[in-house]
Each structure stands twice: as structure tokens, then as C-alpha cells.
């Protein structure tokens, strides 16, 4: 079945340093990939998705590139801000057969940015 792996449970950074959160996946078909962000006591919200017509998806300074050869969709940002502190989920949507729209999530990575 489908699976998503996020290797870091917690990433702690100093403000201004670059961010990279890892995401790899396994899927029978060629899935859509997503990053969701969840701030404390809030609902998860979509941050990025992988299928923006060959353009690298970007939002709020974050970007991610889908590499099918390595089954990866790492999240990056050039300079971390205090407000980036949150829980980040990588997720995939199965496109195989009848498109179910089933979203499978990784375990999540907590990003903590300090001054």
C-alpha cells in the first residue's frame, strides 16, 4: 500500500537559517504529493501540492520539488521565520484506478524556530 516517510520528528533551527524537511514515499501509481502545516491548536492546512503544471510549487516562501526517481518531495525554505514554527505533514493522494482521493499522511515533523 501507499506510505509516506518523514525521517525527522523534530527539527530545531535558528531564525534566518535554511529549512529542509524530508519526505519520501512509496506508491503503486504516480501519486500527487502535498505538504500540510498545522499550527498549535489549529486544523491542518494545505501548504503546497506537487502538480502545478511543471512549475515548482511555492507558498509563503516554502517550495518543494517532486523527484520521481528518488520518490521524494522535500520541503525547503531559504530563511526560517519564528512564525514557521509548526507541525508539518507530507501526504500523498492515490491516483491509481478509480481516483479515490484517499490521503495518506506521514508521521509529521515539528519545526521549532528560535531567535
Amino acid at each position: 500500500g501507499d506510505s509516506v516517510t518523514q525521517t525527522e520528528g523534530l527539527v530545531t533551527l535558528t531564525e534566518g537559517l535554511p529549512v529542509m524537511l524530508n519526505c519520501t514515499y512509496q506508491s503503486t501509481y504516480s501519486p500527487f504529493l502535498f505538504w500540510y502545516v498545522q499550527h498549535l491548536n489549529e486544523a491542518p492546512k494545505l501548504l503546497l501540492k506537487s502538480f502545478t503544471d511543471n512549475k515548482r510549487p511555492e507558498h509563503q516562501g516554502f517550495h518543494a520539488t517532486l523527484h520521481k526517481s528518488s520518490s521524494s518531495f522535500h520541503l525547503q525554505k531559504s530563511s526560517a521565520q519564528l512564525s514557521d514554527s509548526a507541525l508539518y505533514y507530507c501526504a500523498l493522494s492515490d491516483r491509481g484506478g478509480a481516483n479515490t482521493g484517499k490521503l495518506t499522511f506521514g508521521h509529521g515533523t515539528i519545526l521549532r524556530v528560535h531567535p
Binding site: L46, A91, N99, G101, T104
Partner: protein, 112 residues
Amino acid sequence: EAAVTQSPRNKVAVTGGKVTLSCNQTNNHNNMYWYRQDTGHGLRLIHYSYGAGSTEKGDIPDGYKASRPSQENFSLILELATPSQTSVYFCASGDAGGTEVFFGKGTRLTVV
């Protein structure tokens, strides 16, 4: 604006009791989902639905039932609640491809 509303937002239940978590969406989405969120496990899919009258088992359906009586409403039912079901539950709605998914604010369930 896309809206998914969960009720109740907080619930304390006794072991062995019945719990129903409700979800309403005004997005006119076909798909709806129930996830639970636990530290170290992330978001795990319990049940989902493609439309009114349909329910599908997710990755961890044991101990849970689901009901989709209409396009707008999707309920999660715990017939015999256990302490291991203490968690935060999120409902979500999405388009058929799973490319536009919106989450509710969550329900914190404590089973004592």
C-alpha cells in the same frame, strides 16, 4: 469560504459507552474523511466516504463505524469506547482527486 464543522469540540466519555462525533461540510465535496491524530503516529485514516450512502474502511477502522446520510454530513461512531480511543479526531472534506482537502478544527475525545 470552505467550511468543515465538527461537533462536539471536546468530549469526555466513559469506557463502554457510545460516542458519536459529527461533521458537516458546506463545500459540496464528494469525499469526506475521519482521521485521528496521536503523537508519534501523525494523522491516521479511520473511515472515508465517496458520497451519500457510502463508507469505506481506512487504515485503522477497528472499533469505529461511520455513517454518511447526506452529502453534507459524516459521522464517526464508537459503539463501545475504550481508553485507547482517547485522541484528537479530525474530519475533512475533499474533491474526488484528494487535491483540495479541508479540515475541521478537531474534536478532543477523552475516554475514562
